[in-house]
């Protein structure tokens, strides 16, 4: 697809616009269902459409800007935000966001085509490779962890590997410690700074900071499950906000993509959230782990093309088409399969619920 303004922004057709809306919807369903941001599907989806990785990330964080702010306000009203913890995490996170955007910008430099097509192609390939590598590295770990956790959740043992890590960290003399009153936890300042930096880096690089933030708060800090997502969202409203504005400053936000994603994602989030109420938790985690791993495989399939363009490996350029096709197919299997499964589960649960609801209407005290 020919780009405009060099190769920075893609030319949108009705077809590609509808695909972006669909990406937003599927991302929204997955996001509402799994409680994650949905960027793990939307970002690679846009990259498969020919959008540069860095613009896909920038547009994604821009589309989440408003949602994060509204979500953070709602959680804060319900008392689900530890503002002190969010503040402590925010300082390193904002530094890391700037650092991540700076790296992405540096790698993408020259992609506008002013220094020649070859330089532009190499810059774009380098940037895409870097984003894909971080994406694959982080999400492969997260996907395997979630899937393993889901498939092994039949065990009644409370002490999983994550608690071992928490206990190990609790025993280490990592002074000074800070008390966080809402979450009711006491955590080493160094640990908070490290996690904050990690969240900011992932948010700025691939817009998936929540994959580190929520589990780290729950498993490493001991924050209650009701407070961790609210605090993460509060943090994301600032960290994600800074990332969006930083990308905008570097000219890497396509507002058209952000608007189209928004069109699908708000409806998708509603459907996905409803799904969590009628589907078993183990099924939620299984779907989440499977979809993430398929997204990882999809991105891995695209990496050889970037490596060839960087001249780090050599093969027939005619094969690019096959690698890209495989990547797109895997992504759509992940997205459409995951979202379709969620919709089917919601429909099935709704039907079962109606039947039982009708049956239970006749149960009255006098019956016994």
């Amino acid at each position: 697809m020919p780009g405009i303004l060099g190769d920075v922004f893609i030319q949108l057709t009705w077809q590609s616009a509808l695909i972006v809306v669909l990406l937003g919807f599927i991302g929204g369903v997955l996001s509402g269902f799994t409680g994650s941001g949905g960027a793990f599907f939307m970002t690679p989806g846009m990259m498969n459409l020919g959008v540069s990785g860095v613009v896909a990330v920038g547009s994604n964080v821009a589309h989440r800007l408003g949602n994060n702010m509204m979500g953070a306000i709602k959680h804060a009203k319900l008392g689900n935000v530890d503002k002190k913890l969010a503040f402590y995490l925010m300082i390193p996170a904002l530094v890391a966001v700037r650092f991540a955007v700076w790296i992405n910008g540096l790698l993408f430099k020259g992609a506008s085509g002013e220094e020649g097509a070859q330089v532009a192609g190499a810059a774009k390939a380098m940037s895409n490779f870097y984003i894909s590598a971080v994406f694959v590295g982080v999400l492969a770990f997260v996907g395997i962890f979630i899937l393993r956790d889901a498939l092994g959740s039949g065990s009644k043992d409370d002490s999983g590997p994550s608690m071992k890590m928490a206990n190990f960290l609790a025993r280490m003399p990592l002074h000074p410690y800070v008390n966080f009153p809402v979450a009711d936890v006491r955590v080493s300042l160094w640990l908070v700074l490290l996690v904050g930096f990690g969240i900011g880096y992932l948010d700025g690089t691939v817009a998936i900071g929540g994959f580190l933030g929520v589990p780290a708060m729950i498993y490493l800090f001991g924050v209650p499950t009701s407070v961790a997502p609210g605090t993460e969202l509060f943090l994301a409203a600032f960290g994600g906000g800074l990332a969006a504005l930083s990308y905008a400053y570097q000219g890497m936000v396509d507002l058209r993509l952000a608007f189209l994603l928004l069109l699908g994602s708000i409806i998708g989030v509603y459907v996905g959230t409803y799904g969590t109420k009628v589907v078993k938790e183990v099924m939620i985690r299984t779907v989440m782990g499977s979809v993430i791993l398929l997204c990882v495989l999809s991105r891995m399939s695209a990496i050889p093309v970037y490596l060839r363009k960087l001249q780090w490996i050599a093969f027939d350029p005619g094969l690019d088409h096959w690698f890209e096709g495989l990547s797109t197919a895997l992504l759509f299997v992940a997205g459409i399969g995951g979202a379709g499964l969620i919709l089917a589960l919601v429909f099935k649960a709704n039907m079962e619920r109606r039947k039982i609801h009708e049956a239970l209407r006749v149960t009255k005290p006098a019956d016994l």
Binding site: I4, L5, A166, D254, L255
Partner: protein, 503 residues
């Protein structure tokens, strides 16, 4: 005679005081250790639960289920013991076990710190510094445990009827004073308080029975009871387990029936006089349908001002109002009014059962503290709706007092608290909402229209030649447009869902 709860910290003299008091009154003494042993027998690993709670559990849902079961075992044990005879219980937070039961005397023991420290040093063979550290840590753990199990601060003075400061008073004298205090009419059983205890016992037995059934062990169930009828609320994803519930509960002593309600969440509705034909019922029912929620009824009968003043005059914290058994015309009139309200309450409950939305119900009388104590901090309510209260007052006073109690409850419970009037406004979808929907939809269409008909200009600002000279223009555009369109479109989506009664 009252059930006496003595609450204190380890090595603080509370147990000695409780034993002394039991001996003086001729009561049975029960300690926390007996409750913990019963809980362990029922398969609840209390020690493991304590350790896991202190280390901040990752699997909170499972911990919450164990907590509910522990509370049920403790409540059942205390109620069964109390029904056998007179009881003095010593523990960390026994005073929180029977909310809504008025014939309990709740005593807090403030220890004499030097003696406490010496006791620890002597019994555990520790140096002063280590003993101080030990006491500090154990006190913190106990506070965290009480907060985890009961959801409240164990030092909250409003939850006690008497505080004994052992820094000033000896155990012997304190026990003598408490013997007299326990004779006060405020702490004696009444038919209503005994009925409340029966309800607590029934609920606890039902909870234990459900917990002990292997098929239901992992189910998230909320158990309520009202006048012998047990209401069990379960999550839609556990719908297949629902038919098992009546079977498991069928032969519990005192159980007149079982109601099962499938719900995602709970709404608490507080009224003085319920009616299934009222506008408020329609509104709450409508909201419950949209949210897939169970509605729990709480009938609140505000204490008469005179009773509160009388209670304050003898410097004793007000207890829930007791029905005086003096006979006479006035009492008969009051009884008749209460009976009529009971019928309305029951018919409202039946109407909810008929619609599959019942979350059970209870009645509480007293002041706002008693009302707050009756709201379980461990039940995850999504909303608390306050209807008409203080019906005996004039309209202005009624509105003011209802507003005050709504505001008070807002600070006491985690869920949002609104009045039935406010709920009506939120559910209404009239001309104003339609205008808002059309206006916002037009603005969204305008934003999208402008963006896609001026793509070249917009992209020039975002990353083209214009951007090179004015990068802050792109920042401004993203900072304004992204949240603005998200807010406008979010509002449109929310209004459409409200219109379709799906939000």
């Amino acid at each position: 005679m009252p059930i006496i709860f003595v609450s204190g910290l380890p090595f603080g003299g509370g147990e000695r005081l409780a034993r002394e008091l039991a001996q003086k009154l001729g009561y049975d003494f029960v300690s926390r250790e007996e409750i913990v042993a019963k809980a362990n027998e029922a398969g609840i690993p209390v020690g493991k639960l304590e350790v896991a709670m202190i280390k901040k559990p990752a699997v909170q849902e499972r911990m919450a289920r164990l907590r509910e079961r522990y509370l049920a075992v403790a409540t059942a044990a205390i109620c069964e013991k109390a029904s056998e005879g007179k009881t003095v219980y010593y523990g960390r937070a026994g005073h929180l076990l029977l909310p809504g039961v008025s014939h309990v005397l709740r005593i807090k023991v403030v220890p004499e710190e030097t003696q406490r420290l010496e006791a620890v040093m002597q019994r555990l063979k520790l140096g002063q510094e280590k003993a101080e550290k030990f006491l500090k840590e154990i006190d913190e753990d106990i506070r965290a445990w009480v907060h985890f199990v009961h959801g409240v601060d164990m030092d909250d003075a409003r939850r006690y009827d008497f505080v004994v400061n052992l820094e000033k008073v000896g155990i012997e004298n304190a026990a003598t004073a408490l013997c007299t205090f326990a004779q006060l009419p405020d702490f004696q059983p009444t038919p209503s308080s005994l009925a409340a205890m029966e309800e607590r016992l029934l609920r606890a037995r039902a909870r234990i029975r459900l917990a002990l059934d292997e098929r239901l062990q992992d189910a998230e169930l909320t158990v309520r009871s009202s006048e012998g009828a047990v209401t069990v609320t379960y999550m839609p994803r556990q719908a297949k387990l629902a038919p098992l519930i009546p079977d498991v509960l069928k032969d519990i002593p005192g159980c007149r029936g079982v109601r099962c309600t499938m719900a995602n969440t709970n709404i608490l509705w507080i009224e003085e006089r319920f009616s299934p034909g009222s506008q408020a019922f329609k509104q709450v029912n409508e909201l419950a349908r949209r949210w897939d929620a169970a509605v729990e009824l709480l009938r609140f009968i505000p204490a008469a001002v005179e009773t509160q003043k009388a209670a304050q005059a003898v410097s004793v914290p007000a207890a829930p109002v007791m029905k005086r058994a003096t006979g006479g015309i006035e009492d008969d009139v009051a009884d008749k009014a209460i009976a009529e309200k009971d019928i309305a309450f029951q018919s409202t409950l039946e109407a909810l059962v008929g619609g599959g939305k019942s979350g059970g119900g209870q009645t509480v009388s007293g002041n706002r503290d008693h009302l707050a104590a009756a709201i379980s901090p461990t039940v995850p309510y999504s909303l608390v709706v306050v209807g008409d209260l203080f019906l005996g007052k004039g309209e202005s006073a009624r509105k003011r007092m209802t507003r005050e109690i709504t505001s008070f409850l807002g600070g006491q419970v985690k869920a949002p608290v609104i009045t039935t009037g406010e709920l009506g406004v939120k559910l209404r979808f009239g001309t104003k909402e339609i205008s808002k929907l059309l206006g916002y939809a037009a603005l969204v269409a305008l934003c999208y229209g402008l963006l896609f008909t001026h793509q070249e200009t917009v992209l020039d600002i975002l990353g083209g030649p214009f951007h090179k000279g004015h990068p802050w223009a792109a920042v401004g555009m993203v900072a304004v447009m992204a949240p603005l369109v998200a807010a406008l479109y979010g509002t449109v989506a929310s209004l459409v869902l409200r219109l379709l009664k799906l939000e």
